[in-house]
């Protein structure tokens, strides 16, 4: 076991601050590990030279007494649709394969300001439009727990990297579950903040009104630390204006005993495989043991909400890609092109009808959280499917992989509420299972407090995948 590779930010930060550990030493350790773990295909670009310069600068600043805070000298990776000045940002596509942004995304600016060291750009599903990270242009990213399985997506490189000790932090994006799905399938923490909490400026869109940026980490505390650094108003993204950022580090330590939490128990949310149901039930017992008051609740109109959410992502994604669909259709992978074409055939009336349903859902899902502080449900109905597998069976019924993997996460993007996935055990074939906690808008502290209490009561975050010595 590599001691540095699996250390959390909260463990590394005091050692960096006291100079017991050098940012350069930490970076070199991770760069060597990334090379050794190349079979995972977790990175599209590793920023060796730039990272070394940043690590040396961090070392000098800390030595000079100019410590910036807990991310100073910490290596982080970014999903490769987050703009980085002077560093290629491909969006996992052929179309943007050689694109070098002229400026950083706001989240990259904020991480740099916090002193983080940019380790590299992680692999993703083409244009983030999918859940497998089986990329036609850059090859499949592999799940570190089983190399023949997907890591989930679309932030699959981030999930695989964090799970296998290739950096403690990676930023992903989540439009229909793309942070939480890889977090669950790779056995790490994935936080989708409230819509408007984190700036999307400089992040290539999939669907403007569903996109969220957030961290994948190995601990809940680390997720809170990263969110603290990247959250807050940004004039370049008006959806963020008007919200101040609470003290997340303090907030997540609030007592959870006595909290009322809803367990989504409608038929739509009960469609999970036996091993996931078993792990979820065990998680509920842990939450009860923490003094949380659980009560079964029904999600309003989940099938209709899913239809409306799909219409929004299909239409908005088609709009984002309108010009390239006309000029360069041959440069898309088949799966992405098929989805974009479907979106082009929707009408404005259909799109706006879906957005009216969203208004209804905001009210009705909000009502569920009036007297309860959070909702809990599994993150993904199954453990990681095989690479190339397109149909997934749950409860004897076979469905398209995209539909099954997004079943329990997509509706939360539709209403924009905060949600976190935390490891809650291992299912079939020893593969990770995730527990999802959903909260009220802008109440990340409560979501994180429940997740942290669960994490501290369970051992799952302490287990790590084997070193990938060969293809399984």
């Amino acid at each position: 076991m590599n001691e540095l590779a699996y250390a959390s930010v909260t463990e590394l930060a005091p050692r960096l601050r006291s100079r017991a550990l050098s940012p350069v030493e930490l970076l070199e350790d991770l760069l060597a590990r990334i090379e050794r773990f190349g079979v995972l295909n977790a990175f599209i670009t590793v920023t060796g030279a730039e990272a070394r310069a940043q690590a040396r600068a961090a070392e000098e600043e800390i030595a000079a007494g100019r410590y910036r805070g807990p991310l100073h000298g910490i290596p982080v990776s970014l999903k490769d649709l987050i703009d980085t000045q002077g560093i290629r940002t491909t969006c996992g596509s052929r179309i943007l394969a050689d694109r070098i942004p002229a400026e950083d995304a706001t989240v990259a600016v904020r991480l740099r300001a916090a002193g983080a060291v940019l380790l590299g750009k992680t692999a993703l599903h083409e244009f983030a439009y999918g859940v497998t990270t089986n990329n036609p242009h850059f090859g499949p990213t592999r799940n570190p727990w089983h190399l023949d399985r997907i890591p989930g997506g679309s932030s699959g490189g981030s999930g695989a990297a964090v799970a296998s000790g290739l950096g403690p932090v990676s930023l992903g994006t989540d439009t229909g579950g793309s942070i939480r799905i890889p977090a669950a399938l790779c056995g790490v923490v994935g936080l989708k903040p409230t819509y408007g909490r984190v700036s999307r400026h400089g992040v290539f869109p999939l669907a403007w009104t569903l996109d969220h940026v957030g961290p994948l980490t190995r601990t809940v505390e680390d997720a809170a630390l990263v969110l603290q650094a990247i959250a807050g108003p940004d004039e370049k993204d008006p959806s963020t204006l008007g919200y101040s950022v609470p003290d997340l580090g303090g907030g997540l330590r609030r007592p959870v005993a006595g909290m009322r939490v809803g367990v989504l128990s409608d038929e739509f949310h009960r469609q999970v495989s036996g091993d996931v149901a078993e792990r979820f039930q065990a998680a509920l017992e842990v939450l009860t043991g923490l003094g949380i008051k659980l009560e079964e609740v029904q999600f309003p109109r989940p099938s209709e909400a899913r239809t409306a959410a799909l219409a929004v992502i299909l239409a908005e994604a088609a709009s984002v890609h309108e010009r390239w669909l006309h000029d360069r259709p041959q440069d898309y992978g088949t799966e992405t092109l098929d989805l974009l074409r479907r979106g082009q055939l929707l009408s404005a009336t259909q799109y706006l009808r879906a957005q009216k349903v969203r208004a209804l859902m905001l009210r009705e899902v909000g009502d569920l959280l009036t007297s309860r502080i959070a909702l809990v449900l599994p993150t993904v109905p199954v453990v990681a499917p095989a690479i190339g597998q397109t149909a997934v069976t749950v409860g004897g019924r076979s469905g398209e992989d995209r539909g099954v993997l997004t079943q329990l996460v997509r509706l939360i993007n539709f209403v924009g509420f905060p949600a976190v996935s935390v490891p809650c055990g291992f299912g079939e074939d020893g593969l990770p299972v995730g527990l999802q906690v959903v909260g009220r808008p802008m109440d990340e502290p409560s979501v994180l407090a429940i997740a942290l209490a669960f994490e501290r009561a369970t051992p799952w975050h302490l287990r790590h995948p084997p070193e990938p010595t060969r293809m399984s």
Binding site: S239, R301, L325, Q350, A359
Partner: protein, 73 residues
């Protein structure tokens, strides 16, 4: 009958042509059935109590024009 008037692969093909899209027939055959079923689901959303609601557009505060995620350059 769908409110959209699109019920068959031929209807979809004609709609694509009207929109100036070049979609090979074999591509349409691959995902057209899914889209036809989906359009039916979308029609049924009109049965929900949404008549008096304004489209939400975003789950957060109203957005002004900005540069967040600007799309193709």
């Amino acid at each position: 009958m769908h409110a959209s008037g699109v019920e068959t692969l031929t209807d979809l093909e004609q709609l694509a042509a009207r929109l100036g899209m070049r979609v090979p027939h074999e591509d349409l055959a691959r995902w057209g059935p899914w889209l036809l079923a989906f359009l039916g689901d979308l029609d049924r959303l009109a049965l929900l109590p949404v008549a008096g609601l304004e489209p939400a557009l975003t789950p957060g505060p109203p957005r002004a024009s900005g540069t967040a995620g600007s799309g193709p350059e």
